[in-house]
Symmetry: C7
Subunit: 105 residues, 7 copies
């Protein structure tokens, strides 16, 4: 992962079938409401979709429709993807076909 | 395998040709009806399908029909797939074409 | 290979172009009619087809016809395939295109 | 290589584009007519075609015509293929496209 | 990376779907306006597109349209691509499909 | 490389897009006309085409025309191909697309 | 790299989409006009195209047009390609799609 000079993650426009997501952090408090120190907060494989590309091009030059949209809550694979850092926050870029499932809320 | 914040496995909607399954546990009692301690219960390669995606997209953008459906009892490969944990339960996501066979009941 | 809870191998319905076979055991007696202990019985690369899938889907969504059928005696490759165990018996699942030859009887 | 219970190599019917061949043994006598012990007889990359499959299926479901036929004398690659043993004899199965050349007699 | 005799980067005309970019350097001064020594300036994964090829050829011989254009600010992958050096400056050539995202300014 | 029982290289008929060639030996004499011992004669990457196959089959079952013909002098890759020995002579079989260039004489 | 008996590089006719190039040598004198010993002359990734093939065959048997022509000055990849030696000179053969960029003069 490398730092970027991007000031606002909203300025990022994914290309082709790429999906920009941010991992959802596990709640940093226990069931009884006690807040946990950050080091004990587990990373989850859930993420919020922030932006999606226009879709890959098929062999006839048409866009393959994306499976997810900005705002979707999704299950991401544990490995793979590209991580980028904007300020203190970490984001990930996956291909649309790598997203495992949507999570209905 | 990573924990998720998903509260209910039913909120998971597989994408493309993915199949969400849960392994069937071997019965934890012997033929003579004695219950076994959990550590001696073997994992099986049989699973129950909980949810399926809409199918992969073929080169013309049409959905390839799925071979299995929610509710099917299936034979899964021993390796591969993606495991996810919701609460204390473990689930697996496979591609439709990785499912070896249906098991008629 | 992993055990399964399947009670009857006939309940297994292979998917796509998969072929369920059982190896044919070498005869456990010598030419002069003496029965051999099981450990000296060689495994053969011959198998009996128990069930076949409906065929893989070609790029137009049509089924590719299977090369073998239930009941066929076939030559299987020495490696590859998936082994499953039902009770004390071992079975194998191959793709149709992996079966080397039929054996006429 | 594994033994088989096949009694007659002629009962073997290759599937798809497979070619059943038997290596031609180098003549076990010298130019001056003296017979050599078997261990000094070199294996050759020449083989006799015993049986051929009906051809692979192309993407439209049609058979790709085979390049060799039963009876052809052919040059086989040094590695690859599948060996099978019937009685004391060894045979090989290759894909049609692996056969390097026909040998005119 | 190898030196070239190219005197002016503008003389470089990428072929097919290649994209010529130059990494954007992190600002060499702190928030309070103090200039940093060059060794402490981080490399970023952001780049400016200097020139693009005409696009890859699809199977019908038509050009696949490029996703980025000269002048675009883009997010590049951390690894991959080809580096070239013209004078003291370093440049990179990527395939169009390797560029992760555009950065709106 | 393995010996063959082929008596005449002309009996070899390459299949599909295969090309039978023989390396051209560097001249075994110096510029001043002195003959060199064989061990100091360098192997060259030039070869004479002895026979060519009818061409590979494209996806519609038509033959892809060969790029070289019997009699052509060609540049062959340093590695790859299959070597065969007939009597004391060594020959090579390449795919048509592996031949790098023709050499005009 | 292997020596060839080719007397004139112009006798080489590349096949399919191959491109015959020769690396451009860095000028062997300093800015102030002093000639450098050959060992200190750097190899460049620039090359002059000497000859090109007629183009690869697409799946319909038509030639894919070449991106470069004889006479073009081009940027070549640092690795890959095939080197050949004619007399004291070294040449390289690349596929058309491996050439990174043209260099306008």
């Amino acid at each position: 992962m490398k730092a970027t000079a991007i000031r606002n993650i909203k300025s990022l426009v994914p290309l082709l079938d790429r999906v920009l997501v941010q991992r959802i952090k596990a709640e940093a408090k226990t069931a009884s409401g006690i807040y946990l120190p950050e080091s004990s907060v587990k990373e989850l494989n859930e993420a919020r979709v922030l932006a999606v590309g226009p879709g890959a091009l098929d062999k006839d030059g048409k866009r393959v429709p994306m499976g997810v949209q900005a705002g979707d809550r999704v299950l991401i694979p544990q490995y793979g993807g590209t991580s980028i850092k904007v300020g203190e926050e970490e984001y990930h870029i996956f291909r649309d076909s790598e997203i495992l499932a949507k999570i209905n809320e």
